[in-house]
Amino acid sequence: MHDVRVEVTPRLGGQAVDVRGNVVKARLLQDLGIDVTKVRSISGFVVRSPVVASMLGERVDDLFVDPIIEVGRLGSAWLDDDTLFPDAPDLVITIGFKPGVTDNAGSAALDGLRTLFPEARVEGAAVATDLTFAFYGLPEGADGPSIAAGLHNPLIERALIQSAPGAEGWQQLGYPERPVVEAQPPAAVDLELDDEALIRLSEEGLLALNLEEMQTIRDHYRHPEVQAARTALGLPPHAPTDVELECLAQTWSEHCKHKIFAAHIHHRDEETGEDVEIDSLFKTHIMRPTLDMQEEMPWLLSVFHDNSGVIAWDDEWSVCMKAETHNSPSALDPYGGAMTGIVGVNRDILGTGLGARPIANTDVFCFGPPKWEGDLPSNLFHPSRVLRGVHAGVRVGGNESGIPTVNGAIVFDDRYIGKPLVYCGTVGLMPATLPDGRPGHAKTAEPGDLVYMVGGRIGADGIHGATFSSLELTEDSPSSAVQIGDPITQKKMLDMILEARDAGLIASITDNGAGGISSSIGEMAEQTGGVEIDLAAAPLKQVGLSAWEILVSESQERMTVAVHPHHAEAFEAMAAIHEVEATVVATFTDDGRFLVRHGDDVVALLPLDFLHDGVPQLRLESVWSPPEHAAFVAPETPDHNDLLLRLLARPNVASKEDWVRQYDHEVIAQTAVKPFVGVERDGPADAAVIAPLHGSSRGLVISNGIVPRYADLDAGAMVVAAVDEAVRNAVCVGIDVDRMAGLDNFCWPDPIVSEKTPDGRFKLAQLVRANRELERMCRAYRVPCVSGKDSMKNDYGTGADKISIPPTMLFSLFGDHPDVRMTATSDLKREGERLYLFGRCRQELGASEVASMLSESGEAAGIGGAVPAMEHPEAQREAYAALSAEIGAGRIRTAHDCSEGGLGVALAEMCIGGRRGAMIDLDGLGLDGADTFGQLWGESLGRIVIGVEALHEAEVCDALEQHGLTLIGLVVEGGRLVVEDGYDALIDVSVDDMVAAWKAPLALPVGGER
């Protein structure tokens, strides 16, 4: 093996531009205010292979260099070349990966090398990449380390900083050599310890198991029959091996077992005196309602037990959806964490039934304020950096996978500095019936089936992800829990799996996510009643992994697939064509055992029922007393023009266009309502509508609801608003309200009372109220939850510096759209269109966006007051059904819901989308108790502004009047939004001013984004 370094830099002059350099130059100015004259970039490749430098040199233009726009060089640095780099830069920073971190460009380069040089197809050949930036005209005082800090994440990357060449020229980065690690043989872990020592063992080993769980494990090994079985296989009889303990820790983690949602809860309400016992929030408030509804909804095909929930769509196709979070990894490495989040949830879809094809992504993020100027706890990134990294990760993950990002949101709150929330969702499409007659949504594994690990290899990355995310973030959180996704490896695997599915080769399939194969194979083994794994068969990224590490590593891009033995040959041939690695690592049995070997040695033996059902139920305490907030009092003489323009500029309201446009939202040629609508294609869409069957206008709707602000007053109200928002958004585009399904996605601060969490009882009471309201809303709206997820440890630090996120539930919705040609969008369509408010305005300003804005600025004392409520959800559903029917009939083409900033902001956004003005009179909106301030800025639920052409007005009014319909105005010429209260103008603002206020805050400079 030889290490040969290749450097590539853009040609300059003529049409040539160094775009990468320009991007860094613009970013330095934006982030640090440092204005340099010029930045030049150089890509570096360290090629480790049997190919010698002279051979490689002849082919540099065939592989590394684009000869039209770049020049390449072998060996010494480009910076040492006087013709191309005549002036010495003031500063040179080279960024490369740390050893063992996924280097996707390096893997691609290796693949390209092997196309040209077959002799490089040997184990150990590798390419490592780096990027060098040379800075010219650095202002006084700008220092290398702080510039480098903005360009790399020291957790996964290394930086070489130079301000002058050495005696032998400019230094270059070498190959990131991994220190030699020896695999450790499995060891017995003695659990016959006192309680304190057991807990210490759990904490120090990052096991995240509590005392009762540790005791339960210890007690398991005291059973004589357990000991006898172990002795027979040569295992330590009285104690678990480290493999077993790690496997149990992953399987029993909060992340995998949802122990808080399964807990027995003693709940007291200090307001009402209620005192009850609840046996599992999940079973009581989420599963039960769905199962009840399933009796009347035969189209609910698969709920809760698979990787995503499946509903029937048309006769030939079923659809499924899953959303989940990737919060902790995104806090440590926003780019890698978010990318693994999106490609991970894609795998949940691929692993549903016998395999579904991901067809749409949704991304909802919660971050600290992008312009935060306050303190930052150590080990946390500035929110703007988190935003940029998460966005880039999701962009690369989604775009490179060829899955459109069709809908999403970004929510800002100070407390998300402690833990950003990164919700990634994916919709999938699967045949209702496979060519061989099996239903697409059911798994058919049998004893004797071979279990393949397909896709990427197992490495030291991603060890302890499941248990780590079940702990709070600290300064010492491990870097091994961070990974970078590899979308192309995954895409190859996805292509291959779907082809294998259609050929009838797959008996069962699941994703490798949290807990690695210990979880994926362990869970799948329940289908046949046992499994025998051989860890020595598993392909590894590097030597030196111990047995337990192989079992629990969460290395990405892997699926676990069960294949009948007589299909093995065809399956492997298909994998070879797609250049996907597929290796038999286990065989399903029916002997009730989870048996793990490493070659000839048995390293773990766990009864399946103990592994899956042995975890003791938590018993938790919950006490509710309403939080106290100073009441929000509206200003006596409000300047509504000013309020409107300020609200439009709030990060929660402002346009995210420059960010969202970087997601491919229409690959697959199906997106009929895109994230942007209107004349200039920059108005907000309420929900996505896709028509995934090419040539057919039958559609699907995808929407989201998230309103964490309301949890400050009542987490129950927060959930009510989220469910209503998701449904309301979907109604705005004409969803069939009889065919919709939901996903609940809870992100909570730790709700278990302890020394670290003295207010745990209150946080748990918030969760109880949230679940009760979720049930009430879902039953009334007839929207069954078919899948869900919870992340329950979203805190940073301890004591006085502790930051807990606001309790947050994202409600995602998907459902049927009969015909995408009949839909409505938020932009005003043409002059003369009549505008109506559908729904009623109550005086509901508690925790509203305007209340938050005026409290933050000191213009109001607090956010307290009536939080938006939904007293009669059944009636609201009837109203939505009527409105959706009018949209489906083509009589309403303009609709936009009122959410953050209420009616005032909704009207402004409609004007922006249509680049048209409107004349509005609020007279007639006061019947339900709201004053003009409440009518304009209050956030009462269930409200939608609709535009109706004169031609359809009578019919629409007939259909909708009984549900609360008030004529509020007209679309007019003149480009101004004018709002009167019957007498006086409250608002008179030009559309241009609204556009400017709304688009500026989160805009990106052209050339300023990576």
Partner: protein
């Protein structure tokens, strides 16, 4: 009617293969998604198809330059079959990443119009990073050179469709290459200002971002080789196969398709989108040639 067979390549990160196959089917062809390695495994397979399409995507993650690594696989493993396919009059289209692949293999723009037109696999142009420095999905307006020999664009004047790329800036290292291509009407399709009268939008004067989304020389969106058979473009005409995919369909203002057949003969009727005619042109070309 003659069956027209289309090979739609996929694998290694190509991701517009499903819709690209679908649009050929909507204009009456028989289209098959074909993995790159199946073709490499049996190179003779290519001659059993009439049309070759290389769809959009992110082959090999665009690492080492978009289209480069897939281009190399084709250039080294399928050189003769590809050369023969074009030499025998087979239309080839590359969209987005497919265009990048065709440019990196040298199939586009191909040998100069005044000499031997057999593909020589020499790279003469490139698609560089957008000047904006970012990947974007946005709708653009395109106009076609009415005198182009390109078999794919006959009869088309203007269409709207999305661009979805980060590396779409068409560049050459010698301005004379562009002059020669222009003279041979190989600069088939350009980004134009939608406010210009239809048919009068094409210009050599650099249009501002985002009218030209990437800063391409002479606002070039796509080019063909001198035979007119091989066509590549960055924007996605397949993404507007139906009018309901045009962002203006909800405003009743989505443009009508310029189609070569009457509304009642189109599979989507009045809902046919502007992009479909490009694919119909190639299918018709093959049919007319064989009849």
């Amino acid at each position: 009617m003659t069956t027209v067979r289309v090979a739609v390549l996929f694998g290694f990160g190509i991701n517009c293969d499903h819709e690209t196959a679908a649009v050929f089917r909507l204009v009456g062809a028989e289209a098959e998604r074909l993995h790159v390695n199946r073709l490499i495994e049996s190179p003779g397979l290519l001659s059993s198809y009439d049309i070759l399409a290389i769809p959009g995507g992110f082959s090999f993650g665009d690492h080492l330059g978009s289209g480069r690594l897939l281009g190399n696989r084709l250039r080294f493993a399928l050189r003769e079959p590809l050369r023969d396919f074009v030499a025998n009059g087979g239309p080839v289209i590359g969209i987005c990443n497919g265009f990048q692949v065709l440019v990196k293999t040298g199939l586009l723009p191909g040998p100069p119009a005044n000499g031997d037109l057999t593909p020589d696999f020499e790279q003469r142009a490139s698609l560089a990073l957008n000047e904006s420095g970012r990947y974007e999905d946005r709708w653009v307006t395109l106009e076609f050179d009415p005198e182009s020999p390109c078999v794919w664009t006959q009869g088309l004047t203007r269409i709207d469709c999305p661009v979805r790329h980060g590396e779409g800036r068409f560049v050459v290292d010698d301005e004379a290459v562009l002059d020669a291509m222009d003279e041979a009407h190989q600069l088939v399709v350009r980004y134009v200002d939608p406010n210009t009268p239809k048919g009068e939008g094409r210009t050599d004067v650099r249009l501002p971002y985002p009218t030209s989304p990437n800063g391409s020389a002479r606002n070039i969106a796509g080019v063909c080789d001198a035979t007119g058979l091989v066509f590549g473009l960055m924007p996605h005409p397949e993404a507007v196969y139906a009018k309901w995919l045009h962002p203006d369909h909800t405003r009743y203002t989505a443009p009508e398709a310029e189609a070569s057949i009457p509304i009642e003969e189109r599979s989507l009727g009045e809902w046919e989108g502007e992009g479909l005619q490009i694919f119909r042109n190639a299918v018709d070309f093959v049919r007319n040639r064989s009849s």
